[in-house]
Subunit: 246 residues, 3 copies
Amino acid sequence: MSVAVNFSVEMPRLAVSMLERVRKQTPRVHCLMNTVAQKLVADGLSALGAIPSMTSSSDEVQDFARKADALVVNLGTLDKQRREAIGLAVDIATARGIPWLLDPAHCDYSLLRARFAQDLLKRQPAVLRANAAEYALLTVPEHLVAVETGVVDRISFAGRTVSVANGDPLIAKVTGTGCLSGAVIAAFLAVDDDPHMATAAAMLALGVAAEKAALRASGPGSFEPALLDALAALEGGEILERAKVT
Amino acid sequence: MSVAVNFSVEMPRLAVSMLERVRKQTPRVHCLMNTVAQKLVADGLSALGAIPSMTSSSDEVQDFARKADALVVNLGTLDKQRREAIGLAVDIATARGIPWLLDPAHCDYSLLRARFAQDLLKRQPAVLRANAAEYALLTVPEHLVAVETGVVDRISFAGRTVSVANGDPLIAKVTGTGCLSGAVIAAFLAVDDDPHMATAAAMLALGVAAEKAALRASGPGSFEPALLDALAALEGGEILERAKVT
Amino acid sequence: MSVAVNFSVEMPRLAVSMLERVRKQTPRVHCLMNTVAQKLVADGLSALGAIPSMTSSSDEVQDFARKADALVVNLGTLDKQRREAIGLAVDIATARGIPWLLDPAHCDYSLLRARFAQDLLKRQPAVLRANAAEYALLTVPEHLVAVETGVVDRISFAGRTVSVANGDPLIAKVTGTGCLSGAVIAAFLAVDDDPHMATAAAMLALGVAAEKAALRASGPGSFEPALLDALAALEGGEILERAKVT
C-alpha cells in the first residue's frame, strides 16, 4: 500500500531502489510488441538491465510467457495471429500470477482494436498505459493502475494520482518510445509488489533518462541512441536531483 | 499544371513551400511497409512533421486508410496477408480520392511480386517509385508520376522530366532509405495538388537532408540518425542554396 | 582443408583476404531473419559490402533463395509461415549447393523450436551458431562448423577449435548483434570454400569492428551506429594488429 507515502520525497527514492533491483534481478519481460517498435523496446529493456523476448506466434508464445517475470501486451500492428497469441499469453500470465501491462496503441484508429482492448481490460492487467484519445474510448475498470502519458504523465490508482513532469519533447518524435515506456513499467512491476509505485518509478526513470539524452542530442535521430545510453548509465543521484513528482 | 515552370528556379521554392505545409498540416501517411524499414520510415515521417501509421492486417487496414491523407504501398517482405491488406487499402484510397504511391521494392527478385506490381499499376497510383531494374520489368501507364531513383533521381510526368542531383552515396548503404523516400513523397502529395512537383520537391528535400547528414556522419551507421536530425532541422534556405534541379 | 594452418598467424591474414573478397564480390545473403533484427542485419551486411534480402513468405522465398550466394536461417520470432518458408529456402540452398547457416535463436525457450532446429540440423547446414544454453539442447552432427558464441567465440570443425577472443561486452547489450554475426559468417562462406576458416574469419572481423566501435561509444545506444561505421571502414591492418586468435 502506498497510502502513507509523501510522493515528491519518497517516490524518487523508491525509483532508485527499484532500478537497482531491475539491474540485479534482470527480470525477463516478454513483449507482444508491434513490429515497428520491437528493436527499440528490446534495446531499451537490455539497456535498463532487463531481458527482453518478442516472439508472438500462437504456437510458441506460451513457452515464452512461462519463462517471463512480466508481460507487455501492445496492440500496435495487430492481426488475427497476434490477437490469438495475446489471449494465450494472458492465460499464462494469469495462471502464473505475473503482472502484465496493456498498451492499446492507436485503438482510436480502429473499432476492432478498441473492442479487443476493452475485452482485455476485463482480464485484469496490472497497468493500462494509454493517451487521452485512447482513454476516451475505453471504460477503465477499478483495481488497475492507469497511466495517461503526455507532457506530464499521470499515474492513477484507487483515487490517488502521481504526476511525473520529467521527460523531453524529443521523446514524442521517436517512434516506439511510448511502447518502450510500457516495457520499462513491466520491468519495474517484476521487481516490486506495489504496481502504483512501480509504474510511477518507471515513468520517472525513463523521464530522467530522456532529459539526459536531450542534452546530447541534435534532433530525434541522435536522441534515440542517446536515450539508450542514458538508460544504461542512469544513476540514482540523477533521479533524486531531477525528479519532478507530485 | 507545371507547364510554365522553370524547374531549376521554381522547383526549390515550391519545395520550401511544401515542406512548410507538411510541418503545418502534419498529414497522416499510412504505410503498407515492409517489416525491415517500418521503424526508419516512421521516424523519418515524424522528423519531417508528418504522422505515420504502419498497420497492415486486412481486418484493420481500412480503418487506418480512412484516417490517412496519403498512402504508401511498398512491396518489400510481401506475403498473402499483406497483398490482401494492400488491395483493401487501395480501395479506400480510391474511394476517398487520396493520393497513393507504389514502391515495387525488389520486384526484380520475384515474378509473383512483379505481377502484383503490374496489377497495382492499373489501379492508378499517383506515383511509381522504382529503380532501373524494377522499371525494366514493368509496363508503366501514362498519367502517373514515375520516379527513377539513382545517383540522379529522375521524376517524369506527361513527357517532362525533372532531375534532382542532390543526395549522398551513404544513403544507399542504409537499408530503408529508398522506402523512406516513398513515404516522404506521400507526405508531400498530401499537401499539394500537383503530384509531379510534389514528388520532385520531396526528392529534393530528402536529398538536401542527406547532404547535411553526410557532413556529420562517419559511415552508414552514424549517417542514419544524422539523416533524421537533418530532416527535422531542414531549413528553406538550405534547400534553395543546395538545390541541383534541372 | 585447414590442417596445416597455424591459426594465430594465418587466420588473421585469411580474414583480411576474405573481407576484401566480400567487398569485391558483394555476395547476396538471403536472411530468414526474426523481425526484431532484420534492419540491423541488413545494415550490417550492407556496411560489410554484401547485399541483404529478408523476404520470408513461402510464396516468394524460393525466388529470393535462387538469387542468393548464401542463406541465414535464424529461428527468432518463429511462426508457422516462417517454418514453411525456411523449409522451402533450405530446399533451394541444397539443390543449388550454396552454404547456409543455422541460428536456433532462443530455442532454449521453446520445445517446438528446439525440435525444429534439430530437424534442420539433419539438412546439413554449413554452420551452426548458438550459445551454450542452445547447444545443451541440440545433438550436433559431424561435418558442420559449430560456433559457440560467448566472451571467447569457439569455432569447431572435425575436432579442431579456433578461439577468437576479440569483441567488446557492449555487443551483448545490443539486440540482434548475435543474429548479425550469423549473417556476417554467411557473407564470408559465400566467398571462400573452407567453411571453418570462413566462419572464424567472420567472427574475427566482427570482433575487431566491435572493439573499434567501443572506442567511440558512450553506451549500447551509440555503440550500434559505431559498429556499422566500423564494419564499413574496417581495414586489413586493424585485423592483423588486433587479432586474438588461438
